[in-house]
């Protein structure tokens, strides 16, 4: 299978973020650092089983990575690289040119007075 392009990577991120449980898990890993499914079950209103399932899927998608360790003691870590790809796509949507270009026209028109 060829490696996914930037859009496919970003899509994985956006799909994960669209789900409240996965969003909560990613947020917990971002703010608190690497954690096991058991750690996360203590902190989040989600069952350990569900968390383990989400972590497995997100590891396959490359959004988190499992650190080597015994089963049940496996710690998951957030991977920032796919997030940076997604952030780049958002950058184009977040850039506002209509406001400044409107202001440019207004500024030059005001100069006529």
């Amino acid at each position: 299978m060829p490696p996914p392009d930037g859009e496919a990577i970003a899509e994985q991120v956006f799909v994960a973020l669209a789900d409240p449980s996965r969003r909560a898990i990613l947020a917990a890993l971002a703010s608190g650092g690497p954690a096991t499914a058991t750690d996360l079950a203590v902190r989040l209103p989600i069952t350990r089983q569900a968390i383990a399932k989400h972590l497995g899927l997100m590891a396959e998608a490359g959004l988190v990575t499992a650190e080597p360790g015994e089963r049940r003691r496996v710690r998951y870590r957030l991977r920032s690289a796919p997030m940076q790809v997604a952030q780049q796509f958002l950058a184009a949507l977040a850039r506002d040119w209509d406001g400044p270009l409107g202001a440019l026209k207004d500024h030059l028109d005001k100069g006529d007075d």
């Binding site: 991977r79 690289a81 028109d109």
Partner: protein, 144 residues
């Protein structure tokens, strides 16, 4: 391609290119409509900046200066970390249109991504932080 690499806008302005050029390429002009404060060293390779009352500052590098037709600069991609090396290129083209100016703005490079960045995003160097922290620990241990 669902995600845009470039943003393009064309506006008709009822003033001649020389007036528009001054608004785009001088500190006085830029601070009147774009930033709240601005500075510019108008030559290829020169630096420019704009500052907003919100506290945000944008740093630009002037790339093309062809008065009064083409003005181009690169800047940091808004929203990416400060140390991210990726930049977008903004080019203003001014064409006379009757007594006024047709101004085209193209900002490109949003979907630029080096092979390295792809590889990192896909395979990942998940151990990046681990090894950096290990280096820090090693450094501190050595210094102790």
């Amino acid at each position: 391609m669902a995600f845009p690499d470039r943003i393009e806008r064309t506006v008709e302005i009822a003033h001649p290119p020389a007036r528009v050029w001054a608004a785009l390429t001088t500190a006085e002009g830029l601070s009147a409509w774009f930033g709240q404060q601005a500075g510019i060293d108008l030559r290829p390779g020169g630096s420019a900046w704009m500052k907003w009352d919100s506290g945000h500052t944008a740093y630009m590098r002037v790339e093309r200066v062809e008065e009064p037709a083409v003005f181009g600069f690169t800047w940091h991609i808004f929203g990416l970390p400060e140390d991210d090396p990726r930049r977008t290129y903004v080019e203003f083209t001014l064409e006379p249109a009757g007594a006024g100016t047709r101004l085209t703005m193209v900002e490109s490079g949003f979907s630029q991504l080096s092979e390295d960045a792809f590889r990192t995003a896909y395979d990942g160097n998940a151990n990046g932080w681990v090894s950096e922290l290990d280096e820090l620990v090693g450094y501190l241990d050595a210094a102790a």
